[in-house]
Symmetry: C2
Subunit: 313 residues, 2 copies
């Protein structure tokens, strides 16, 4: 971030404002200008100390900046890239926080004169809250950030974007945009859809009065920002549909197992699944525990230690 | 609990030991004896201060007690009730912590001489951890506890059991056993099953490396104790199957909406679902925040404020 004397944050919501706060906390000495559709959001980001000042519009925000962060809902990317193109210059690097990457890359190729200076980013940090009032300097810390550079992306542009996320304490992971979209469908968009369906079943069949932390955790994502989530599901609809289909096949097997009365297979399935998740948690736990309240896992060994697993196959 | 000079805890695992610790912390002056299948578990409960001493067996544990708490896996209830019958006496009240209630009540009617002194309880407190080592004095505090008295349950027995859970700071809710089993299928057993399926889809399609707090929360229940969970799913299989069926109908509608490309209906669905959950959370939040890390909800008003909801209907 040494080459960045001014940075533009386009969209001063939860994530945009958190990036500003995080940079200030990490000692970034450049100027941070912000621009957003809602003036009160920009003003709140200034009041929170997340940005230094408001820019009148996107072209002017990027014209003097060496780095621009697009942190708007997915449905606005096309329009924002058009505006960036009006203030674009040779030393400007553009990145984003969009939750799907193929659609964003297509928009960048369509609207920017030099998409080689655009680097797709997806900081996996969020909350079911929204707006700059909920911003936190440590929102990104220890979370994964996925970068989806293309074969023709300028190396110096990629470096600048990596410096940004590194300064915020993120763990960088590079992968192709298509791979990103497949994986996020599995571990983010599908869980969100499932959360929504769980709430609907409770609304249909009752149980709210006795619902406790298990229900609260499994449905937390259903409280996420609806327009943002609808945008994401729509932008990534093909991969989301494929994940939903895989989920449905698993659901059928589960129902089948229950109706067959195969208690042994049911237990084996639960043991294998727990083992797989605990394995992951053990590896990721030190990152997760910073922000989530997931309790440390007990060291119980599953009785069935088979690695080749019927149910996970 | 004034009438209880000795209490027997049968099964000194997470919940049994937490009840012991909680009673001591709340100033219970009676003696607490414990009995369990695994001697090391009982010894650990003593070492933790959760029980005063080990009883040699169930009949002797209950013979001198005025209250017996059955905190064993569901599959052992039948055998434990038989043993209780051998030490039973007119001033003994029996309750339990079983996660399903119809099957437990049937076992009580089958095995106990006077099932009118049995009161079904389901303290909605737990953790994905297990064993007395994970016990906490405040595990039950502010959580709901469901009681399922029958028409012929003795009023004084119900009072004694209510005094137990009240002393631990639980919120008491009475309902018929069948209603309990229907509601817990919706808000506990279905979410658990769905957590398991989400882990399976990730094992099939990948994404572990980038999985973050959203995935961790929605799959937390998949790390629960497999034998305990298999017992629960099996004991409540009819209601679980009905909930899975309702879930599948919702899943089909969701997939249909996505493939139709109806973005407006998708957004409306997400808004209605968020509204329903936030409403619940607002009412329950003060209880939940004691133990879960669910962040306080923002006060954003959903744009679509319709109360009559297509998707939740």
């Amino acid at each position: 971030m040494d080459r960045v004397s001014q940075m533009a944050i386009i969209g001063t919501g939860l994530l945009g404002a958190s990036v500003g706060l995080g940079l200030k906390a990490a000692g970034f000495r450049g100027r941070i200008v912000g621009v957003g559709r809602r003036p009160e959001s920009v003003q709140e980001a200034i009041a929170r100390g997340a940005i230094d000042e408001a820019a009148p519009d996107v072209p002017q925000a990027v014209a003097q900046s060496q780095l621009a962060l697009v942190a708007v809902p997915l449905s606005q990317f096309d329009a924002v890239f058009k505006q960036i193109a009006q203030g674009d210059h040779e030393d400007l690097v553009i990145t984003d926080v969009g939750s799907t990457k193929q659609e964003v890359l297509e928009a960048a190729r369509r609207r920017l004169a030099q998409p080689q200076r655009f680097v797709g980013s997806h900081p996996m940090a969020g909350s079911e809250q929204q707006g700059p009032g909920a911003a936190r300097a440590d929102l990104c810390r220890n979370k994964p950030c996925i970068l989806t550079p293309e074969p023709d992306t300028h190396a110096w542009a990629l470096e600048r974007v990596e410096a940004l996320w590194t300064m915020l304490g993120m763990r960088l992971i590079r992968m192709p945009a298509q791979e990103h979209d497949r994986q996020t469908a599995v571990i983010s968009h599908l869980p969100h859809a499932v959360s929504v369906l769980l709430v609907q079943v409770a609304a249909e069949r009752g149980g709210w009065q006795i619902a406790s932390t298990g229900f609260a955790d499994t449905t937390r994502l259903a409280s996420s920002n609806p327009p943002m989530r609808a945008d994401i599901l729509w932008a990534n609809r093909e991969e989301v549909a494929a994940s939903l289909e895989a989920f449905r096949r698993r659901l059928d097997r589960f129902c089948d197992l229950l109706s067959r009365g195969d208690q042994e297979a049911l237990l084996a399935m639960l043991q294998q699944t727990k083992q797989r998740r605990d394995q992951w948690l053990k590896r990721q736990g030190r990152f997760l525990e910073v922000s989530a309240c997931e309790a440390p896992q007990p060291q119980n060994k599953p009785e069935n230690n088979a690695t080749a697993s019927e149910h996970l196959a």
